[in-house]
């Protein structure tokens, strides 16, 4: 806890790396986002919580250049910016790791790590992939995220666990210069242990001073690693708070849209009543 507070203190002085000001996004008739403002700070994990269809994916797609906002303003390090496509966002250091992680199961760890940016040696027709370098760097980078079980760079990625694949995708993004790392539901398809692995990864990434945006349905995971939280309901930022300001119950209720959990309890009891043999 002391470490947490200490780092929090440091973050206060750093300006936000990404900032959304009154972002609205409309798809034809659907108002996917309405007047959303938020700040993404370096060295912080910003959790984006919300029910299905709340607008989480739409929001991170604006960050990463897939969509452009209908109105409102986005700032990168204080300067107003708009990304025409994902490439532009990536070139400015904003990387997204989707749930599928974008790794190739039938290729080795080293080959995967450098897909699209292969290190080469030699000139002309003798120009070739520098496999030794690819092996060395990929292992070094993955292990630096605390994943020590990956020790053979020639291993097919299909043999890695879900958490290890996340580590590969994340370490690759960081190695190629990501300053904002957007993770879309990184724990959704994982078991308990693997999810914990990913949460530990996120914590390490945060300590490197990277800004993490964590999209999740899981309030437990969010509260475990998050520094700052934004809850979206029907495209609006219903609440935003920092670690420690809300209890788990409050967060769960907020995500479910307030009173709905209590309503559910009543409705469940009604169903039970239907199945109780009446005299």
């Amino acid at each position: 806890m002391t470490e947490h507070q200490a780092s929090e203190h440091v973050h206060e002085v750093l300006p936000p790396i990404l900032e959304l000001q009154s972002i609205t996004k409309r798809f034809d008739n659907v108002l996917a986002l309405h007047d959303v403002s938020m700040q993404i700070n370096p060295g912080e994990v910003h959790c984006l919580l919300g029910d299905n269809g709340a607008g989480k994916s739409t929001l991170i797609k604006i960050f990463s250049g897939v969509h452009q906002q209908t109105s409102g303003n986005m700032c990168l390090e204080g300067a107003s910016i708009s990304f025409a496509n994902p490439r532009e966002a990536r070139d400015r250091g904003i990387a997204t790791v989707h749930q599928g992680t974008g790794v190739l199961p039938l290729m080795s760890v080293a080959r995967n790590f450098f897909v699209g940016s292969e290190p080469t040696r030699g000139k002309g027709v003798l120009r070739r992939m520098d496999m030794a370098e690819a092996r060395r760097v990929s292992l070094e980078q993955i292990q630096a995220l605390g994943i020590r079980r990956v020790e053979d760079a020639d291993q097919l990625v299909g043999t890695l666990s879900g958490g290890e694949r996340q580590a590969l995708a994340i370490s690759r993004a960081l190695y190629f210069g990501a300053r904002v790392l957007i993770l879309d539901e990184p724990t959704a398809a994982l078991g308990v242990r693997e999810a914990q692995t990913v949460l530990k990864l996120i914590r390490r990434v945060r300590h490197r001073g990277v800004a993490v945006v964590l999209v999740t349905h899981n309030a437990y995971h969010a509260l475990a690693v998050g520094d700052r939280f934004t809850i979206l309901i029907h495209g609006e930022a219903a609440d935003s708070f920092v670690q420690g300001e809300r209890t788990r119950e409050e967060v769960l209720n907020l995500m479910a849209g307030g009173e709905e959990l209590e309503d559910l309890q009543l409705e469940l009891e009604e169903i039970d009543a239907e199945f109780t043999p009446s005299a």
Partner: protein, 338 residues
């Protein structure tokens, strides 16, 4: 680098090396080739299969299949099919025959024309597949019909028959159709093509792009791989492979024949699949295609030496294909489960 600790690579011992070999995509194909060769060598002993001439006989038949199977394997690994290669082999031989006999062009010029036509066909196949998003199976099926029709029409109007004879001597004859004892020079072409493809796939960044494109085009594109260019390039390579085989056959048989290449369409795919190439892309090797073609060649020629009815070769190949696919998927699962 950030937080880099020294990484000690795993020591590579003898057992480790053996395991690594088993995990390679062509391991099943190596077994198949050895078993099939052993089977015929033993089963036909005394009939001359293992003599120099017998060896030349299966190698010659394997070489032409192999020259085409290797680029086809790369295309399959890149996630696409090309059914037009057979027609392209036939068209090449028609271009050469009609060029030299009807138009009296030097053979070198006729070959150049065939290469240009081949490259154009590959580009059209590639662009159409990439830009329309249609399955390459359909696109190249259409191309196959178009080429067959064109070569048939050309041959009939120019010469009046789908088979056109040609006669050459000199440099190009020795380059593509010379022999040493019973061994055709096409065997050297086969090795050269295989060596080039192995270099590209296993050692260059283009090779990494081919594997990635075939493995998951979307993911590869997001990682910055120029997937369209990769696919178009592979279509051109396959088409040029067909031109090479067409040239070799035209000079070897001294004739052009529209329908000569038909057997290559499926035999190259069979050779690749026996060789451990995954039909849906993303996995395989050029060496695998070489071994697959060898297995195929040994069976189709070896059957002659058994003295059996050669009709059985098809059955044998069918069973072999099935067994090889099962073995390959077993070894792939093994590689994915260590």
């Amino acid at each position: 680098m950030i937080g880099s600790q020294p990484v000690s690579p795993r020591p590579i011992g003898g057992r480790h090396r053996l395991r690594r070999m088993i995990y390679r995509p062509e391991f099943g194909a190596l077994l198949a080739a050895l078993v099939v060769y052993g089977f015929f060598a033993w089963g036909t002993r005394g009939n001359g299969f293992v003599t120099l001439n017998g060896t030349a006989s299966w190698m010659n038949s394997t070489a032409e299949l192999g020259i085409l199977a290797v680029p086809v394997a790369l295309l399959l690994i890149g996630g696409e099919f090309d059914l037009s290669i057979g027609a392209m082999v036939g068209m090449t031989s028609i271009i050469l025959a009609a060029g030299t006999t009807h138009y009296e062009l030097p053979i070198g010029i006729s070959i150049l024309i065939a290469v240009l036509v081949g490259a154009a066909v590959g580009l059209i196949n590639g662009f159409t597949t990439v830009k329309t998003g249609l399955p390459s199976f359909i696109v190249t099926l259409g191309m196959m019909m178009a080429i067959l029709g064109t070569s048939l029409g050309l041959a009939r109007t120019l010469v009046g028959s789908p088979i056109v004879s040609l006669n050459t001597e000199g440099f190009f004859e020795s380059l593509f159709a010379s022999r040493w004892r019973q061994f055709n020079v096409s065997i050297l072409w086969w090795f050269a093509v295989a060596a080039l493809a192995t270099w590209v796939l296993a050692r260059t960044r283009t090779g990494n792009w081919i594997l990635a494109t075939g493995g998951d085009t979307q993911a590869a594109r997001e990682a910055g791989v120029p997937t369209d260019r990769v696919k178009i390039g592979l279509f051109v390579a396959v088409s040029l492979g067909a031109v090479l085989v067409g040239v070799i056959q035209a000079l070897e048989f001294n004739s052009g024949d529209v329908s000569r290449g038909t057997a290559f369409i499926f035999n190259t795919i069979i050779a690749s699949v026996i060789g451990g190439v995954l039909l849906r892309g993303g996995y395989g090797s050029a060496v695998g295609a070489v071994l697959g073609a060898t297995t195929f060649g040994v069976v189709s020629v070896g059957i002659f030496y058994t003295g059996w009815e050669t009709d059985w070769a098809q059955l044998f190949l069918g069973v072999l294909l099935f067994a090889a696919v099962l073995a390959n998927s077993f070894f792939r699962k093994l590689a994915l489960s260590r």
